[in-house]
């Protein structure tokens, strides 16, 4: 491969041979001026795994409440009781949100001050009873940890009970960025720390619950902190093996304004490519159209991403933080993002079983 930064040649030789990249390699991926060199390496690894296939899912986001006991400084979603815009969905409302063509329900919400754990069990149980064919992906490790903090229910128990109620997989949120410095600076010390976040995913994997992993980037973190984050999720995947997808989440500026504007699309493309190269044990790397915009998402399919997430219908967390994308898209828009890049749309379910190849 011709790369304009000769240092990338050595990285590529190892990546091509299936060798693991180091932290130093990771830093180089974030520092080099040869953005397309990084992208081409990532694209080659993606093509080796998936060819021209790009996955999407017909899904529905449900955010049961935005009441939250935390005050993370990057968050525009959370509200306190009585505050304007605070809401709590009823179980009936949530059951009614799921439509017949939906394959996956994604449920993530605030750390509600008083909903008992049984309420969460009932959410899952009711949706599962009403829509047994729909796979339920619910509750981040941060929420599972909160069930312990608030109600002293161990993750092993809460996950087993949720699984019995119908939960099939877990989203990757709440990881934010693995850094004690940033947890203090951005006030998320009250949330599952990196060890705890990884521990909970390990417990889920042991129960047969597949999960995802995320990273919130593009705010005040350093490139070294990004690389640390990626290396830690890679190590957890070595230990427990149940991660399906890594989803980099570009920080939305909204009213929290940790930085003046959304990180540039070139940074997002680089981050996706670096994730593909470093996370050699992750099957899938996602370009999440909600945070990237449809155009950047389409281009990201040349930078190592093999998934665009789904139709969503009613995404709230990023949109309350000012994401300028629609709250949901029709399948045709996902097709356009994928086909414009010359790729083949493959409809999947939450667990990456292929529903249909849309040639």
């Amino acid at each position: 491969m011709h790369v304009s930064d000769p240092r990338l040649k050595r990285v590529w030789d190892r990546a091509e041979a299936g060798e693991r990249l180091s932290r130093e390699d990771g830093l180089l991926l974030f520092e080099t001026q040869d953005l397309l060199g990084v992208g081409r390496m990532a694209n080659a690894l993606k093509a080796r795994r998936e060819g021209d296939r790009v996955y999407f899912v017909m899904n529905r986001h449900i955010t049961p409440t935005n009441l939250c006991v935390l005050s993370c400084r990057f968050c525009d979603f959370a509200r306190k009781k009585g505050q304007t815009g605070a809401y709590e969905h009823t179980i009936e409302d949530m059951v009614a949100m799921v439509k017949p063509d939906c394959r996956e329900v994604h449920i993530v919400g605030g750390h509600h001050p008083d909903w008992p754990f049984e309420y969460y069990e009932r959410i899952i149980g009711a949706i599962h009873a009403a829509h047994p064919q729909v796979q339920i992906k619910a509750f981040t490790a941060a929420e599972i940890d909160y069930f312990w903090r608030r109600w002293k229910i161990e993750p092993k128990e809460s996950l087993a009970r949720l699984q019995a109620a119908g939960l099939q997989s877990m989203p990757g949120g709440g990881a934010e960025i693995f850094s004690a410095r940033l947890a203090r600076l951005l006030h998320y010390t009250g949330k599952a720390d990196p060890d705890r976040w990884c521990e909970i995913h390990g417990i889920a994997h042991a129960l047969g619950i597949k999960t995802n992993a995320t990273m919130l980037y593009g705010h005040v973190e350093t490139m070294a902190e990004r690389v640390d984050h990626l290396v830690r999720v890679r190590e957890q995947q070595d230990r427990s093996g149940g991660f399906l997808t890594f989803i980099p989440l570009a920080y939305q500026v909204g009213t929290t304004k940790l930085v003046p504007r959304l990180t540039p699309p070139t940074d997002s493309l680089r981050t996706i490519a670096a994730a593909r190269l470093l996370l050699d044990n992750f099957p899938h790397i996602e370009a999440y159209w909600v945070v990237l915009g449809e155009e950047t998402t389409s281009i990201a399919l040349h930078f190592g991403a093999d998934d665009v997430n789904g139709t969503l219908e009613d995404e709230r967390i990023q949109h309350m933080a000012g994401a300028d994308t629609p709250a949901g898209v029709a399948r045709e828009q996902l097709f356009r993002m994928i086909r414009d890049a010359g790729k083949i749309p493959v409809e999947r379910d939450a667990l990456y079983n292929v529903v249909r190849v849309w040639n």
């Binding site: 011709h2 091509e16 992208g39 540039p264 389409s298």
Partner: protein, 362 residues
């Protein structure tokens, strides 16, 4: 990574400074993996402009009239003479717009309009003269090729004579609009009253002979095929070999909103097509110094990414723009944001003149 023999061949030509042929062009436009193409284009870009610099111009694009008798199928801006929405500005009204742009720091005003047969040559000449006289800091980047032809028709002069008069009035550059796709097949289909490719090329040739500089544009994403784009590039490259009069090549995607073509073409071509077009143009147009990407025509994010696909210029601030707006496509920027967004992509922003001379590096 497996690369085809063609890719290696193109890489060798680019490294050796050899000209790409039509078969190479086909590969660039139809087959090359997008990032391979981008990386070849970056190699060509840095061979021509070694600095990690991206230029921009502070400018405005007002329009003196929307009256037009040419009925192009891709245009949402024009109105027939007598239409209730038709307008034609007086010389003083245009100068007021130029004054407004100048007061905001513009060094270029790109002025263009419909083909309005009611306007005499003197109207155009006085716009140039008065702009030069009253706003010496502003370069009058006025009138595309088809407007020059309209002037020739109404004044019963040759194109060359019209250009001589404009030159005497103080004009030194022409905008490159109205090229669309320089292919007989395409122009017959979407702009039948505008004449074939020669109509546009002859004006630019005559202008370059007289010492004018101009840009070459291309509006793609409608009825053209790969061969039409290559016809366009062959024509531009050949003319450029004669006089070196083109400063830059500027492609943008056709926006179907409110146009006659909207019936058949619902969406503008996406970002992948744009990056491919830019990168391929950088490689094929080996005698054009600057390839302009736009924050405007494809959106800021795609514009930023385009700076890694062979472009070295980010166009203008476009304080006023009406043609895309008529097609329901709106985008705005300020100078500060322009600088910040260029810098965000890893390049050094630099303000330039109409003729691509550097004014200020940030």
């Amino acid at each position: 990574m497996e690369l085809t023999a063609r890719a290696e061949d193109v890489r060798a030509k680019v490294d050796g400074g050899a000209r790409l042929d039509r078969a190479d062009g086909h590969w660039l436009l139809a087959e090359a993996p997008l990032l391979e193409l981008g990386s070849l284009a970056q190699a060509a870009r840095f061979a021509r402009i070694p600095e990690r610099r991206v230029t921009f111009v502070i400018d405005s694009n007002p329009n003196y009239t929307n009256v037009c008798i040419t009925d192009c199928q891709f245009c949402a801006f024009y109105r027939r003479p007598g239409d209730p929405e038709a307008y034609t500005l007086t010389v003083d009204e245009v100068l007021a717009k130029i004054e407004s742009a100048a007061s905001r720091g513009a060094t270029t005003v790109l002025l263009q309009g419909g083909h309005n047969p009611a306007l005499p040559l003197e109207y155009y000449l006085s716009l140039v003269r008065e702009t030069r006289r009253r706003f010496p800091e502003v370069t009058p980047h006025f009138f595309t090729a088809s407007e020059i032809q309209t002037m020739a028709t109404v004044s019963r002069l040759h194109v060359g004579q019209v250009l001589d008069r404009l030159y005497q009035a103080g004009q030194r550059t022409l905008p490159g609009g109205g090229a669309e796709i320089l292919s007989t097949r395409v122009r017959t289909r979407i702009a039948p009253k505008k004449g074939g490719p020669a109509a546009w090329l002859d004006v630019h040739r005559e202008a370059h002979r007289r010492g004018f500089k101009s840009t070459a544009t291309m509006m793609y994403g409608h009825v053209e095929q790969v061969d039409d784009v290559l016809d366009h590039w062959e024509a531009v490259r050949t003319l450029q070999d004669e006089h070196r009069g083109f400063t830059a090549f500027v492609p943008w995607s056709f926006k179907p909103g409110h146009t006659l073509l909207e019936k058949w073409i619902k969406h503008y071509q996406g970002p992948n097509a744009y990056l491919r077009m830019l990168a391929a143009a950088r490689l094929y147009l080996d005698n054009v110094d600057h390839i302009q990407a736009s924050w405007f025509s494809e959106g800021k994010r795609v514009g930023q990414i385009a700076l890694h696909f062979g472009a070295d210029d980010w166009g203008g601030t476009l304080f006023e723009e009406n043609v895309h707006k008529a097609a329901a496509y709106v985008n705005t920027i300020g100078v500060e944001e322009m600088i910040a967004l260029i810098r965000d992509t890893g390049f050094t922003p630099a303000q330039r003149t109409t003729e691509y001379e550097l004014l200020k590096t940030y």
